[in-house]
């Protein structure tokens, strides 16, 4: 029991029986820490079922609201509004769902659990990985529920299973990348209340000034340009195409992003990850100021 931890350079005799870590390298430690913090966040979903409940009810509500309220007024050629809408709702939901990463991060900071983690010899980045992993699970679950709801209101996937899976993967990947953006904001702002309020300022323009709910070609020019370059538009357009919800002959915008939605969204995901993963980790490690 009284083995001396070889990595500690102290000279004084150790208190009897200090427990020492099992052998491991940076990678195995990182994976283990990442798993433990992911597990912790998943347990929260189980112990506080309201979190999941509300993140499931919201997309159901949106499907029903948009489908029956706007569906009656918006004329989409071909398959009709339901078919057009569903990819938009998916896009909106994963973006909304990812904001939880921000408020949960801020809440953890406020509660002091992050300070507990920071006194432990764990990998700080793993805390962020655990956070974003946990939120990916929430997003995946709400997507399942949404698909069921969509199916009930008449949404149909007309593409191959492979394309269907590609659409789901793209949506979740985007959600994951956006979680890192929000986690960074949570670390920077440190107040769950402010994050909750501020995120709407980001979320509404991002999801509504896009092609998620209405075709963006009819928007006034400044909004149309924004919508064309909005990564959410590319995400939604990609999902729409991969689900087979774009009837042949539907006009496509002239912008490169509209011509190449999948490339655009992959680029967007890459940019978000390349910027916000290192930025969040740096921010986490400099919490000591």
């Amino acid at each position: 029991m009284s083995t001396i931890n070889p990595t500690v350079t102290g000279t004084a005799p150790r208190a009897s029986g200090t427990l020492t870590p099992v052998p491991g390298n940076t990678v195995t430690r990182f994976l283990s820490d990442g798993w433990v913090t992911t597990w912790r966040n998943l347990m929260k979903i189980i112990r506080v079922p309201e979190i999941l409940l509300f993140s499931l009810i919201q997309p159901i509500m949106f499907v029903l609201l948009f489908n029956y309220v706007f569906g009656a007024a918006i004329d989409i050629p071909g398959e009709g509004y339901t078919s057009f809408l569903m990819a938009g709702i998916f896009g909106q939901t994963v973006v909304f769902g990812s904001t939880y990463s921000g408020s949960a991060m801020a809440q953890d900071l406020k509660d002091g659990i992050i300070d507990r983690f920071r006194t432990l010899p764990m990998n700080g980045a793993a805390v962020l990985v655990g956070r974003t992993n946990g939120d990916l699970v929430i997003n995946a679950l709400s997507m399942l529920v949404m698909m069921g709801t969509g199916f009930l209101v008449g949404w149909r996937v007309t593409s191959s299973p492979l394309e269907f899976l590609a659409a789901v993967a793209l949506l979740l990947l985007f959600a994951y990348a956006f979680s890192w953006v929000m986690a960074f904001l949570g670390l920077a702002v440190r107040s769950p209340e402010i994050i909750n309020n501020a995120s709407f300022l980001i979320l509404f323009p991002l999801t509504f000034v896009s092609n998620a709910f209405v075709p963006s070609e009819n928007l006034p020019t400044p909004l149309r340009v924004f919508a064309e370059w909005n990564p959410v538009s590319a995400l939604v357009q990609s999902a729409r195409e991969l689900f087979g919800n774009v009837p042949p002959g539907t006009p496509v915008g002239d912008a490169w992003t509209a011509q190449n939605p999948i490339a655009t969204v992959l680029l967007g995901i890459a940019v978000m990850l390349l910027i916000f993963v290192p930025l969040s980790i740096k921010r986490f490690n400099s919490l000591s100021r």
Binding site: V8, G10, A12, R14, A15, L120, S288
Partner: protein
């Protein structure tokens, strides 16, 4: 003040400075040249009012905050240079290092063990041991959010003990606890000390420092203003004192001038102005003279007597203000300030 550098110091801090610049407010010097030496296997208490810098000191030593300048080592390991090595040998518990509300007591300890990389098996076994040791067997499978204040502190302290760390930091371990839970925590801490753990604790309770600590550093405005054992500190204030408790607070000024006349130092008020204390050169004669003078003025007293100096007196003398005895609410301020 600067003490000679002890070769045996297990926790050592030199000239720590930490400033904060809150928006629209003057710069706060949370630490202003703080020195600390804690020999191995001893309990040191940082005693001071809110905002004195106690929590900031502990946060520096537990790698949570980087000071603007100064050095700190634990068992010779540089806290700033190799924080991960420090984290492998410390346990921290207190007002800021919390537990996860949604996990059960057992799960919390298990998680901490895994994050110390003890391996699942050892982590599980250690969690079991601690649950028993801290008398949490019945509650171990309930989420912590349902725990009472005392239970929460116990699981928090247990979390700090997962690796049986040679160094333990306890930030206000009993703040906010009822007297019975406080006694319980004191017993637990005393047991730990008997095992040879080096402990640094912060407290606003003089009684707590008196009971638990081998040495006390009195902190005010970010620096150590006095250091010694409880007895040494009391002796430094010197002599006996006469204490009068008034029936009517309004008599305070009259009593103050009588005490100033008969005492050997400045009279000070405590207990919200009802009790006046003055150091005296000769105990009994001074007391009878004072009581006679007070009676002549027609001032009624609840109580009059002689007593040895307490840590309260030390505190009052050193800082010019009274120690706070019900800090539970205001206590949060220091943490928020630190986090700002």
């Amino acid at each position: 003040m600067r003490t000679s550098i002890s070769p045996m110091a297990f926790i050592e801090a030199r000239d720590l400075v930490k400033t904060y610049s809150p928006k629209g407010a003057p710069v706060v010097r949370a630490l202003d040249g703080l020195d600390l030496d804690v020999p191995q296997g001893t309990v040191a208490a940082l005693l001071g009012p809110n905002g004195a810098g106690k929590t900031t000191t502990v946060k520096v030593l537990t790698t949570l905050i980087r000071p603007d300048s100064g050095t700190a080592t634990i068992d010779g390991v540089d806290v700033l240079g190799d924080p991960q090595a420090v984290r492998r040998m410390i346990g921290a518990s207190g007002q800021y290092a919390a537990v996860d509300e949604n996990l059960t007591g057992f799960e919390n300890l298990m998680m901490v063990g895994q994050l110390y990389h003890l391996g699942t098996k050892v982590a599980r076994q250690r969690a079991k041991e601690l649950i028993e040791q801290f008398d949490l067997v019945e509650a171990q499978n309930r989420p912590v959010k349902g725990f009472s204040g005392g239970m929460r502190r116990r699981i928090d302290l247990a979390g700090a003990l997962v690796i049986k760390p040679p160094v333990l930091f306890l930030d206000e371990p009993t703040t906010g606890l009822d007297p019975r839970s406080r006694m319980g925590m004191w017993d637990v801490i005393e047991t730990l000390v008997a095992d040879g753990t080096t402990v640094l604790l912060t407290t606003q309770y003089l009684e707590e420092a008196d009971r638990l600590a081998d040495s006390i550093s009195v902190i005010d405005n970010g620096r150590v203003i006095a250091k010694g054992t409880a007895d040494e500190l009391k002796a430094s204030v010197g002599g006996q004192r006469v204490a009068l408790t008034l029936v009517n607070e309004a008599d305070g000024e009259a009593v103050r001038s009588i005490l100033a006349q008969h005492g050997s130092g400045e009279p000070v008020a405590s207990g919200g102005g009802r009790t006046w204390i003055v150091p005296v050169a000769d105990g009994a004669p001074a007391l009878s003279a004072i009581v006679a003078a007070v009676a002549q003025e027609g001032i009624s007293l609840h109580d009059a007597g002689m007593r040895r100096p307490t840590l309260d007196d030390v505190f009052l003398q050193l800082t010019g203000h009274e120690a706070e005895h019900s800090p539970d609410e205001t206590n949060r301020d220091e943490t928020t300030e630190d986090a700002a």
